[in-house]
Symmetry: C2
Subunit: 312 residues, 2 copies
């Protein structure tokens, strides 16, 4: 029997999964991400868990094919991180360091790409080889898989689709310093932003006026038929439809998988995106499917395992 590990490093938690070679998950665990001291303990903490779990499951190193890792930063084709926003790392040769620490083979890639691999393998993209995963969380992230392989880019920055400019008229500035980024309309915070703008300029009655605004309350109100909430959803759908149609013209995916906290709104989200996608997409791309992510927080560790297995 052979095994592999999938590791998903997040800003607050590191998730670790142990898998059989066919993708069956045997166990999963989480540990805090110790970002203090420039994140110097992060890799060592992971190695400690790996060793404990191999002991616990009576697995010897020769039975482990390797470790696949997702990292919340651009990662180049050699598994090198140039900089991170939230782990404390500057330049770090993650793949090589982990190989030295464990004596095992290691693959490392950007977490959004790894999550997309996971959804392709065992989630909403199952059976497809051309998948774009869009994560609508605090920001908007993207993972792009073409012909079964993650697209990395020359700076490890492929799939930064939250920063596609979708509005020429925007006056507020995005975190990235530009104006009109998809993230300003389609992230959890972006939806709250456009909801508040609409609530202030439109005096239509709305149940949203009595609630704390969040992506969830907006789409809950849509389900209850709230007209103003529907206007907000249309605006969200319009920008997502424009962005996905542009992405389709570039990489021609079979399916868009929508994940992240905002996707908890459910299938109604997809209706609004697809309506505008159909309007703007090139005819060759009209049949791309849209689906909600299915693996939730496990996408990263499952994708990590897949990344490893694809590169044995």
């Amino acid at each position: 029997m052979k095994y592999c590990f999938g590791v998903d490093i997040g800003g607050t938690t590191v998730k670790i999964g142990l898998f059989e070679m066919d993708g069956k998950m045997i166990g999963k665990w989480g540990i805090p991400t110790r970002t203090e001291d420039n994140g110097k303990n992060i890799l060592g903490d992971i190695v400690q868990v790996l060793n404990e779990k191999m002991d616990e499951y009576d697995i010897v190193k020769s039975e482990v094919e390797g470790i696949g890792m997702g990292i919340p930063a651009p990662v180049d084709v050699n598994g090198v991180v140039l900089n991170t926003v939230n782990l404390g790392w500057g330049y770090k040769a993650v793949k090589r360091e982990m190989e030295d620490l464990t004596g095992l083979k290691v693959q490392a890639a950007n977490d959004a790409n790894v999550a997309a691999l996971g959804e392709m393998w065992q989630g909403a993209g199952k059976g497809e080889t051309d998948v774009v995963m869009i994560t609508l969380g605090t920001g908007v992230g993207g993972g792009i898989i073409c012909d079964g392989r993650p697209i990395i880019g020359t700076n490890g920055a492929a799939g930064e689709i939250g920063h596609i400019c979708v509005s020429h008229e925007e006056t507020e500035t995005c975190n990235c310093g530009k104006k009109g980024c998809l993230e300003q309309y389609a992230s959890a915070t972006g939806i709250v932003r456009i909801a508040n703008i609409r609530l202030s300029v439109d005096d239509k009655p709305s149940i949203l006026r009595n609630e704390e605004i969040s992506a969830k309350t907006v789409f809950d109100a849509v389900k209850e038929g709230d007209e103003l909430a529907k206007d907000i959803a249309e605006e969200f759908g319009y920008y997502m439809g424009r962005a996905t149609s542009m992405i389709a013209a570039v990489v021609d995916p079979a399916i868009f998988v929508i994940g992240g906290g905002v996707s908890n709104a459910g299938p109604v989200l997809l209706d609004y995106i697809q309506k505008y996608y159909q309007t703007y997409a090139f005819f060759a791309n009209q049949h791309a499917k849209f689906a909600l992510a299915e693996l939730g927080n496990d996408a990263g560790i499952i994708g990590g395992a897949k990344l490893m297995l694809d590169n044995i």
Copy 2:
């Protein structure tokens, strides 16, 4: 000694090149593309030339590694064409048919992808592995290479960047049926279109008023300091800058290579594109280079040879 052939099928001419394994071109030839009778003679005509040239150069089949082909249509990962606009073919398993006809290994891909491979191998993208080639001709075509491999897409339609929507306000309809496609502003015909609109709404004096309008006359006038021509070039650059910044957010290339008839305008073209690219590109993509294509009409046969050699 081993050899390979690169074949570039165009709507009027088929180009065929014979190469040594290191990429050195030994000879190149052209024959008319016989599109009549649903293009039934096209592959046979090519095979006849291949046989003649092997005789002429005293090469036996066992010395030929294979044939790489570029085709002006979407081509899937199995070398199958689903439909063509200008060759007369419907569904055609080009790779398999050519293998049956020649007894040699064959690779086939979309011509824009193949040209991009050629420019990456021996032209403006030399030394890079992440290249986007944009061909500004009658239409706008795109070939995308990530980590050395062409992106094909689920419908063979990746890189259809002429149909990225770059204007929400356009009232005229693109050939594809949508409005606001990059092709409407940046192709040879698109530049003529925006030039004519500007000449009719702006009464600024211009040497263009006494000339037949073409992409060439517009950029020639720019070089002579013509203010109205400069306005047209700004509009072209604005739309190209927007489109390239979007593409960069998706695939993060090291370099954009600009080819096609419009690129004969020379480096001035790049200045106008880069000005707006810098304005709109995400910070991680700011350092992408821009260059004019270097291989001209040979990009297709050189890229064909590379496609073959990469898939031995």
